[in-house]
């Protein structure tokens, strides 16, 4: 197994193949790009990808309460029939997902069943790498949206994350998305603009990392301009100085609350910026013990943030072009581990809402009894979902991004 590649990707992360670094050194210059907000095709859709770090327990999110095997496998952890928010006679949502349940009833929530990939890996990091790169056999060092960005011209403003370090999924071969801070910090008054401009220049023969460091000065100017135009005077996230609001997690995820990240996405969308893909995240799902309450708290946050965002998006023309997709690196084992938790598993459900999404069930639910070493067998390859999103939301041929992957989720839009 290629340990170095994995570690390199995970820890070097954020970015990026050597190619992207070299590109940062001068193949494109952002300050030369005009603000593209006006150039946006008003019909173009926007993708908001929500990553749940830590392996969300899918069977207690979309609950197969009608299947006796569910309760048999996790007696303490299972939700009683009365508490489940019914979707149909077989399945229901976690009680914490009240808002999403309403959306389902109105036909606005799609659930793709049993999404996974062959030969599942139970390491958080490896599996997240696989989801980020869309390369299950051998995760490389580019992310799937990063490769899309390469195809789309490489302007970092097209793919934005509101996390301080860039998530690997936004790292391309030749370009990388922009990491934009959520809390609005005062613009630097100290150094003159001429100094910052001068430091942005590429220098021949310099290392890729130094080239990237210089390119940041150029990126800063363009991204800053874009964000300044859309930001309310109020600071969307008055960050907790101790970072204690966010639940502690051993597996990452943004420290900024999800609702604050989505709030900024909403502002950007309403202002008609050029960004086509936003990456936001919620961490803390790495529960192994006393899982039920912890997961319910997190799902409650997710539910409030998603439904608040979706409601707001439904009120504007631009907002009605937004598609939200929610996933985690894996689900959990069917059987509880008896410290009232579950250990790392495999396939899970993926949630979609927003523009043109056809609500309801998509794909087949995995069996709770025909298992692969205690785990669900996946029924939909995650690349089917990615390919569909690339085609339907980003309006791109998925071929070059996903190694000519042919599968699609039919009827999702």
């Amino acid at each position: 197994m290629d340990t170095q590649t994995r570690r390199r990707f995970l820890l070097t992360s954020g970015v990026v193949g050597a190619g992207a670094l070299a590109a940062g050194a001068g193949a494109y210059r952002l300050r030369d790009l005009l603000d593209t907000a006006g150039d946006r095709d008003p019909q173009a859709r926007t993708l908001v990808l929500v990553t749940l770090y830590g392996g969300n327990d899918g069977l207690n999110t979309v609950i197969p309460y009608g299947d006796p095997a569910y309760r048999a496998a996790r007696p303490e952890l299972a939700y009683p029939d009365g508490e489940v928010r019914r979707l149909d006679d077989g399945f229901g949502l976690n009680p914490a997902l009240a808002g999403l349940h309403q959306r389902w009833s109105a036909g606005g929530l799609a659930i793709v069943r049993g999404v996974g990939y062959p030969k599942p890996d139970r390491s958080h990091f490896r599996s997240m790498d696989i989801w980020h790169t869309a390369q299950p056999d051998r995760p490389g060092n580019t992310g799937w949206l990063g490769r899309w960005l390469d195809q789309a011209g490489g302007d970092p403003r097209l793919a934005v994350s509101f996390e301080p370090a860039l998530p690997p999924l936004l790292a391309g071969e030749r370009s990388a998305g922009a990491a934009v801070p959520v809390s609005d910090r005062k613009a630097t008054k100290g150094l003159p603009a001429e100094t910052l401009t001068a430091l942005a220049a590429a220098e021949a023969g310099e290392s890729a990392a130094r080239g990237r460091a210089a390119a940041c000065f150029a990126d800063l100017r363009s991204v800053d301009e874009m964000i300044r135009e859309v930001r309310d005077s109020a600071d969307p996230a008055t960050a907790d100085p101790d970072g204690e609001q966010a639940p502690a997690t051993a597996t990452g995820g943004a420290r900024t609350p999800l609702d604050a990240q989505l709030d900024l996405v909403a502002q950007c969308v309403e202002a008609g910026v050029s960004t086509r893909a936003f990456s936001v995240s919620l961490g803390g799902f790495d529960t192994h013990a006393d899982e039920k309450q912890l997961q319910a708290v997190l799902l409650g946050q997710l539910d409030r943030a998603l439904t608040g965002f979706a409601d707001r998006m439904s009120r504007t023309e631009a907002g009605r072009k937004v598609v939200v997709a929610v996933y985690s690196e894996f689900g959990r084992r069917v059987r509880a581990n008896a410290s009232d938790g579950t250990d790392h598993g495999t396939a899970s459900d993926l949630l979609l809402l927003g523009a043109g999404v056809r609500g309801g069930w998509h794909g087949d639910a995995p069996s709770l009894t025909d298992l692969d070493d205690g785990d669900l067998k996946y029924t939909t390859d995650f690349r089917d979902v990615y390919a569909t999103l690339l085609e339907q939301v980003l309006g791109t041929d998925p071929g070059p991004v996903l190694a000519d992957w042919k599968g699609r989720v039919d009827g999702l839009f």
Binding site: L11, T12, T188, G190, R210, A213, C216, A250, H288, S339
Partner: protein
């Protein structure tokens, strides 16, 4: 020589580089790896003696106010330890040992956000300091019984009746062997070996409870036996994969990612491995390619500018820690058990803004005596004086063009030097 000092320590001062030049390469390496004299800087910054764990007093009957007060007290203790550690990094003369401790902290990445105990975090740092320079086996054996790590990875929930795989998995994947060198069955058996350890919050100590331990036979990595935590740690540390993996991690942090790690770096102990890394011809080729982690960047600047965090006014001290927070690297709070990112992940527009703000604050706090080293040079020579002060080998034409107009404003010149690509990437 400057390259060696920049990587082996948090950031050398010009005087330290001069002294190393006088001593020569061989003696400099020896002095770094095994300092002859005691560290006066470390002696002058003893770790804080913390009051009892504020949570220990809480019971099921405690009121909401009592809980809030315990929370506030705990937060204060965490800030106390964080501030102390930052100050120690700046004050220590034995820069190699201090930076190595930070390496191990990022390797066994444990966050106080879940551990919620300053004492346990302090205890883990002491353990890493005690064993960090030596061979792998005592380090791993101590860490599988480390209270903070046990809490962080749910070790106290791992019992004979209900094995919890979290600690066993990360122990092999992230701390010792690397992914792909063990099977899922090894994880399950390893978890059984680690059963029985619980943490007493009152004393902050880990304790073995025999009735929770699974004493049965286990097969781990092809070896069968009645493994307990210590025997399992010994088995892991004895794997050739473990020494190679850890040497690779050291190379990754000290030499970077651009030049692959040469074969045969792993020595009998960490100091020997570091000697092999710093002596390797490939190490010299990595100059100018390693992105400084925010803590490395900040502590190096503090040392070079003669700023002691503990001596700053409260407001500036707060700004300093806020700067690390904005840069997303606060000691004791790694983002995940995988540790902090590396390389270009730190080079984002978001981090640049934070670096700009922090650099201005540092420039404002710089002592007049240090500033005088810049202003003593004629205006045209100040960019070179800045390079000497910040131990940068030289400025590119780009950066020189950016610095030259600032030569008449020394504090701005300093701030620009601190955010320059040459200083950010060492």
């Amino acid at each position: 020589m400057a390259h060696l000092l920049r990587r082996a320590t948090f950031g050398p001062t010009a005087d330290e580089v001069d002294a190393a030049e006088r001593a020569g390469p061989a003696a400099t390496l020896d002095n770094l790896l095994t300092p002859a004299r005691t560290d006066r800087g470390a002696a002058a910054t003893p770790p804080p003696v913390l009051a009892a764990d504020p949570y220990a007093e809480l019971t099921g009957e405690s009121t909401r106010e009592q809980r809030q007060q315990a929370n506030a007290e705990r937060r204060k203790q965490v800030q106390q330890v964080t501030a102390w550690w930052l100050d120690r990094m700046v004050a220590a003369e034995d820069g190699l040992t201090e930076k190595l401790l930070f390496f191990w902290h990022g390797h066994w990445a444990t966050s106080v956000q879940k551990v919620k105990s300053a004492r346990m975090m302090q205890g883990q740092l002491e353990t890493l300091r005690r064993h960090g320079r030596g061979p792998l086996r005592p380090l791993v054996a101590a860490m599988v019984r480390d209270p903070a790590l046990i809490v962080w990875l749910d070790g106290q929930k791992n019992t004979r009746k209900a094995p919890n795989e979290n600690l066993a998995r990360e122990l092999m994947e992230l701390f010792t062997l690397g992914i792909g060198t063990y099977t899922e069955a090894d994880v399950k058996a390893g978890a059984r070996a680690l059963t029985g350890w619980v943490v007493d919050r009152r004393t902050g100590a880990a304790r073995f409870e025999a009735r929770r331990h699974d004493p049965g036979e286990k097969t781990i990595l092809g070896q069968s036996g009645r493994f307990d935590a210590e025997a399992y740690a010994g088995l892991l540390a004895a794997q050739p994969a473990a020494t190679t993996f850890v040497a690779g991690r050291l190379w990754f942090r000290y030499a970077g990612n651009d030049v692959p790690a040469p074969q045969g770096l792993a020595g009998p102990d960490t100091i020997a491995t570091l000697r092999a890394i710093f002596s390797s011809p490939a190490f010299a080729q990595t100059r100018g390619t390693l992105v400084k982690q925010p803590v490395e960047w900040l502590v190096g600047a503090l040392r070079q500018l003669g700023i002691r965090p503990s001596a700053l006014p409260e407001q500036q001290h707060k700004q300093l820690l806020a700067g690390l927070n904005a840069l997303d690297q606060v000691p004791l709070r790694p983002p995940s058990v995988g540790g902090w990112p590396a390389g270009a992940a730190w080079l984002t527009t978001s981090s640049l803004q934070a670096r700009l703000r922090t650099a201005e604050m540092l420039a404002a706090a710089t002592a007049p005596a240090v500033l005088a080293r810049l202003t003593a040079a004629p205006t045209a020579g100040r960019p070179d004086a800045l390079a000497r002060l910040l131990v940068v080998d030289g400025w590119s034409a780009r950066t020189r063009a950016a610095l030259t107009p600032l030569a008449g404003e020394p504090r701005k010149l300093l701030a620009a030097g601190l955010v320059s690509p040459e200083y950010t990437v060492s």
